[in-house]
């Protein structure tokens, strides 16, 4: 009988899994978590932010004494490359000490790695993967970000309320960008509006002027955008260059203080949804912001690091509840039980699919600050 490579791999993973469970459960030493994230390459800034956030959360958790044994996080660099992401996932599931994984950054990489975690039976909690299908992959996938299914609908309703009927939509050409357009457009139609223009662009496009000119030909009341802050800054600056004054709405992905820094006055009046505002009054936000500022020479954290901070804390809480039986299965089950976790990105619960339910806030840029819209 010949065994296919897949079966062999499957067997290996299975054996590794069987060995891993008792070994981890009996350990008196530290509990290990894996974190896959881009530490180099084009999206390195996000991964570096997650790492800092995770280190802050971990340090506080270990100091708090909630758990008798220390927790350690093993960071691996995926460079936002799906192949790397899968390789890291294999490495994590083969490492008997690791009980659960965090990451990755993009939906594409997270979903590729998810196949490995699903087969091996290890919980995966991504701080940012917001593609609708990610959490549906299996019971092992969780996320700590609102999806576009939630945000798109919310934004469409917001724009309808403001009397905007003809809307142009642009988004980056990624799994995530596709979901920005799809869920939003459906709700706009349901509200009686019209999407007059849809286009995708390659992430990192330096020049949006051709697209902006094209959008303006469609004469929309407003533009809804699915971009991250760097593309966002370019887009807004070039809108201003071309003297285009159509209002722009965006998702929480654009939310970053750096957007205002890069775009300057061009960012004024941008509307977007957020779940985290660093100038919030609540105690845990203040603590996080202070520690972040200390770690990063005074810079304010954006939404993504805040989500990573919460994701790590949610995971650590689950580990603490699972202790002393820190098996992969048990950590997953405890993770699924997370309800009303008081995070810096709002009170978070997981629904039956591992989907984070959070409160969204409407915000706008005024005088270089993100402020809530009343």
């Amino acid at each position: 009988m010949t065994m296919s490579r897949r079966t062999t791999l499957g067997l290996f993973a299975g054996v590794a899994g069987m060995l891993a469970v008792p070994a981890a459960a009996l350990a008196d030493g530290p509990v290990y978590l894996g974190y896959q994230l881009p530490l180099t390459g084009n999206t390195a800034q996000y991964g570096q932010d997650f790492k800092t956030a995770a280190e802050i959360a971990l340090k506080d958790f270990n100091a708090s004494g909630k758990l008798k044994v220390p927790v350690e996080i093993i960071f691996e660099d995926s460079r936002s490359d799906a192949k790397e992401g899968v390789a890291i996932a294999r490495k994590f599931v083969d490492d008997k000490r690791i009980v659960a994984a965090l990451g990755d950054f993009t939906s594409t990489v997270s979903m590729a790695a998810a196949q490995v975690y699903q087969r091996a039976g290890m919980a995966q909690l991504s701080q940012t993967a917001s593609h609708p299908d990610y959490a549906k992959i299996s019971e092992w996938q969780f996320r700590n970000i609102t999806t576009q299914a939630q945000e798109g609908v919310y934004n469409a309703d917001w724009m309808t309320q403001n009397g905007l009927k003809k809307i142009a939509v642009i988004a980056e050409q990624t799994d995530w960008g596709q979901s920005v357009v799809k869920d939003f457009a459906e709700q706009v139609k349901a509200n009686g509006g019209e999407v007059v223009f849809t286009e995708f662009f390659n992430r990192g496009l330096p020049d949006f002027r051709s697209i902006i000119t094209k959008i303006e030909r469609a004469k929309p009341d407003a533009i809804y955008t699915g971009f991250f802050y760097e593309d966002g800054a370019q887009f807004l600056k070039q809108m201003k260059q071309l003297n285009v004054e159509t209002p722009v709405y965006s998702t929480s992905a654009a939310y970053n203080q750096k957007l205002v820094e890069l775009a300057g006055p061009a960012a004024e009046g941008l509307f977007l949804t957020v779940t985290f505002l660093p100038n919030s009054e609540s105690e845990n936000v203040k603590t996080f912001v202070d520690e972040w500022k200390a770690a990063r020479g005074g810079a304010e954290p954006g939404q993504f690091p805040a989500q990573a901070y919460d994701a790590v804390n949610i995971m650590l809480e689950a580990v603490a509840r699972a202790y002393p039986d820190v098996s992969r299965q048990n950590v997953r089950d405890e993770l699924a039980k997370t309800t009303d976790f008081p995070g810096v990105t709002g009170v978070t619960s997981f629904d039956e699919n591992g989907e984070a339910l959070k409160q969204l806030t409407k915000a706008t840029v005024t005088d270089g600050q993100f402020v809530p819209v009343k």
């Binding site: 180099t40 390459g41 084009n42 999206t43 390195a44 800034q45 570096q48 050409q173 286009e199 995708f200 662009f201 390659n202 990192g204 496009l205 330096p206 020049d207 002027r209 051709s210 697209i211 000119t213 094209k214 030909r217 760097e230 800054a233 370019q234 600056k237 070039q238 201003k240 260059q241 071309l242 003297n243 750096k258 820094e261 890069l262 775009a263 300057g264 006055p265």
Partner: protein
């Protein structure tokens, strides 16, 4: 009457093309002399941009001072690049080594290696994100000309390109340095035999080409307000396409090809998704290689 929409798209295309041309000039100059691609040109461009914004952040000098700082940094990086990545492969000056393709093409790899090292080093030092630049230095103030809108940066980039192109043509045609550059480009061995210091000429070519690359970097950086370690990659690809289309070693050819490329990209966005607009460049490259293997302006084989 032309639809103002197309007029605006055409204008955007020209300004995109000028950006590509700015980079293509230095790129083609170095290729013309050594007949090898300098893969690190994109990083010289990035270094120029970083030098410029660091000068701005440190003491906010007037625009012209920044230009001179960037030119100096560009010259230095061109000099070092030649020393590290190109000179070691010219150790032997006998005829066989000079004609050896392997020796020449080894510099493809060494310049690629330098480019990776430089880019990764900048990523480690500055992070891979966009650098914050003092907004008042950006050259993107809108200027309305009837139905179309341009920015002051378009005018600056246009003037600089014309100046570079004209200056370089004058240099190559009438100055002693230029004559020796052309001699080396035409026949390195022959140039050596008639007493031209080929090493010095090559170093000078690198210095001039890299000064132009660095200047292009800071201008485009301030034009878009986007300075980051991998910023040189896409313009590098576009400059390469322009160079091949222009006939590999014709600088005016590369500039014209860059403009054609910019306009084609901008206009094509009208008819297809911008995701495909990048493909236009590669389509042009393939069409040129299939139907005009000598490039559009490369029929005459005189280089540079």
């Amino acid at each position: 009457m032309i639809d103002p929409y197309y007029l605006q798209q055409f204008t955007i295309g020209i300004s995109l093309g000028m950006v590509y041309a700015l980079m293509a000039i230095g790129f083609t100059l170095i290729f013309g002399v050594l007949n090898v691609v300098n893969f690190a040109h994109g990083e010289v461009y990035t270094i120029g941009a970083f030098a410029g914004i660091m000068a701005i952040a440190a003491f906010g000098p007037p625009f012209l001072v920044i230009v001179f700082i960037v030119l100096a940094v560009g010259a230095l990086s061109g000099f070092s690049l030649e020393r590290v990545a190109f000179r070691p492969f010219r150790r032997f000056s006998d005829e066989a080594s000079l004609k050896s393709r392997a020796m020449r093409e080894a510099t493809l790899m060494s310049s690629l290696a330098m480019s990776i090292i430089a880019r990764e080093a900048m990523e480690l030092l500055f992070g891979s994100e966009f650098q914050t630049i003092d907004i008042s230095y950006l050259i993107n103030k809108p200027i309305s000309l009837g139905p179309v809108t341009i920015v002051n940066g378009d005018i600056i980039i246009f003037l600089v390109s014309v100046l570079m192109l004209g200056g370089l043509q004058w240099l190559l045609k009438y100055s002693a340095i230029g004559l020796s550059i052309r001699a080396v480009s035409n026949n390195p061995l022959g140039a050596k035999y008639v007493g031209i210091n080929t090493d010095r000429t090559i170093v000078l070519t690198f210095v001039i080409g890299s000064m132009m690359g660095a200047l292009a970097g800071i201008l485009v950086g301030l034009y878009y307000g986007a300075v980051f370690p991998s910023m040189g990659f896409i313009p590098g690809v576009k400059a390469f396409v322009a160079m091949v289309m222009g006939g590999l070693s014709s600088i005016p050819g590369a500039v014209i090809a860059a403009l054609v490329l910019g306009v084609a990209e901008s206009l094509s966005t009208t008819f297809m998704s911008s995701v495909w607009a990048d493909m236009v460049a590669y389509l042009f490259l393939i069409v040129t290689l299939v139907f005009f293997p000598q490039g559009l302006f490369g029929a005459r084989r005189e280089r540079v």
